[in-house]
């Protein structure tokens, strides 16, 4: 599996998918005009990804804005990750600014709906 890096734009997050390091990151803002189109290659990447049994993986979300259509795309992504994480070695972290109730709530909803366990992590804002 090749490493995939998507640079951040004004409306889309930086994305790093690094299978060698075992590190996946989504960071920044997510409100592309068409979230389905934007997240399609990411979903496709995970489609072809198989976690190794002797390795730990970390998937980290650190998003400051999430549009409603992005919520649906990220939910699709989490369901996919849940399916391929048969060994249970992908740890998922959902960061939110400590006073950002709505981003925290989205993480909570995902935990309930996608049956994935996200570690919610409050970060302080400067």
């Amino acid at each position: 599996m090749r490493k995939l890096i998507v640079e951040a734009s004004k409306t889309t997050p930086q994305i790093i998918l690094d299978p060698i390091k075992g590190y996946f990151l989504f960071e920044g803002r997510s409100f592309p005009e068409n979230s389905k189109k934007f997240y399609a290659p990411i979903l496709e990447w995970f489609e072809g990804f198989e976690p190794l049994h002797n390795k730990d993986y970390k998937l980290e979300f650190n998003l400051s804005y999430i549009s409603s259509s992005s919520i649906i795309s990220i939910f699709e992504l989490l369901k996919k990750v849940h399916k391929l994480d048969k060994l249970g070695n992908i740890a998922i972290f959902w960061k939110h600014e400590h006073d950002d109730e709505s981003i925290r709530q989205i993480g909570e909803d995902f935990t309930k709906l996608a049956q994935v366990s996200l570690t919610l992590e409050a970060i302080s804002t400067s």
Binding site: K10, T11, F31, P32, E33, N34, S35, K36, K37, Y65, S67, S68, S69, I71, I72, S73, F75, D99, D100, S102, Q105, D109, K112, L113, T125
Partner: protein, 182 residues
């Protein structure tokens, strides 16, 4: 002839932060978001309110974009035009949007907004989850969560109207009030 000064006064007295009528293209909408972001940054409201405003603005602008991006073939008039306006009063912000809509879509949209308006905040939370769980993104990228989000974040009912233009076409207006008090 439009009296520019009268228009200027009207906009000042109505505390209009931004007002736009025209094509809802991606570039125009993105510039408006930039302008409003910097106006919000300068304003004296809490970060929480700024964030809420920004979120609702994004949803509103994306709605306009998706509506006019692929014009509805059943509407015969030139229909990519929309209106978008933001005002600031002491206690609240107001966002106004307006766009053409096919008469076929009115009933469904009306039912959805009325349902969303009828729910209290706790039920909205559950409804949001339900839509997310069953939700499918449309080809335009919309997911049906936008209106629920606007209602939840603003904590106010969504005001809306349909104005008949001709047999096939209506003009849909939406007004959202965001309190600056919390």
């Amino acid at each position: 002839m439009v009296n520019t000064y009268q228009l200027y006064e009207k906009m000042t007295n109505g505390n209009i932060l931004l007002s736009y009528k025209g094509d809802a293209s991606k570039d125009v909408l993105s510039s408006m978001l930039d302008i409003l972001e910097s106006k919000l940054k300068e304003s004296d409201v809490s970060n929480k309110t700024k964030k809420k405003m920004y979120n609702i603005l994004v949803e509103c602008l994306q709605n306009l974009y998706h509506h006019t991006d692929e014009p509805d073939p059943t509407i015969e008039i030139e229909n990519s035009s929309a209106i978008f306006m933001v005002s600031r009063q002491t206690e609240n912000f107001k966002i106004f949007t307006g766009n053409y809509i096919s008469s076929n879509d009115i009933e469904g949209l009306k039912e959805r907004i009325e349902h969303i308006n009828s729910l209290d905040l706790e039920s909205l939370k559950a409804y949001h989850k339900e839509i997310l769980n069953n939700g499918q993104i449309s080809s335009k990228g919309g997911g049906g969560l936008g209106l629920i989000d606007m209602r939840r974040k603003s904590q106010n009912k969504l005001n809306f109207e349909f104005h008949k233009v001709d047999e096939k076409t209506y003009f849909f207006t939406l007004e959202i009030t965001i309190s600056t008090n919390y």
